[in-house]
Amino acid sequence: MAVTNTEAITITEPWATPTWPEVPPDPARTRGGYNPMADEVVIRFAGTAGQRAVVLPIAASDDLDINVLSADRTGVVIGVQVDHLLFSAVAEHPSWRALADPVPPPAVVAELLLEVKRRFDRYGAGETPPAIGR
């Protein structure tokens, strides 16, 4: 009888299939902020402290590099990240300049979350987002 050694090792990676939170995030209760060295803004939703996240790009335009923070162990989206904020993202969304403020206005955070949610619902998120125009 042939003996094979093919033990399957399955590694579950819930972060790879992110889902938007059932309870919509409150733009007035977020953490995180702007990193001026990287020109990157990270917004983490309330109630997610201590949760590790994997940053996944979602479909964006030439000017926009936006990502969701997918919880490592659940895949629930616990935050969002915009790369190259002042360098290029504000060209498409001028109001987002305020995201670089020490305390971003909740109205602008709400705009950001709305845009990310819209693109997330339409295109999803993953390691290889499709390139799209504006």
Partner: protein
């Protein structure tokens, strides 16, 4: 601006992580990286892949697999010329966990 560490990357360039830079990183990614300065250092010294940043000509992204599965630590470094001529050195500007190398970034190394 005090340094946390200075190391050489895969291409022999000196890269520094400053205390100020680390503080900026932890503002957004503290839940993921607090206390893991040595992992960021390892990503520079033992990167598996280096790419050019999609938008900034002088930025490069260092990727290293972290733990089981496909997750990688991505460390973005801004480079600038330093003496003597022809020499470049870098500063870590951000770091976070990702699901893979971003397809928009062109390969730099290997």
């Amino acid at each position: 601006m005090a340094d946390i560490w200075r190391v050489l990357d895969r291409l022999g360039r000196e890269v520094v992580l400053t205390e100020a830079g680390w503080a900026h990183i932890l503002v957004g990614h503290g839940d993921d990286l607090a206390g893991r300065e040595s992992d960021v250092q390892a990503a520079i010294e033992r990167a598996e892949t280096i790419t050019f940043d999609a938008k900034h000509a002088r930025r490069e992204c260092h990727y290293v697999r972290i733990g089981p599965g496909r997750r990688r630590l991505k460390v973005v470094v801004g480079y600038a010329p330093v003496p003597p001529p022809g020499t470049w050195a870098g500063t870590v500007v951000t770091a976070y966990l990702v699901g893979g190398v971003e397809p928009k970034e062109r390969p730099r190394w290997p």
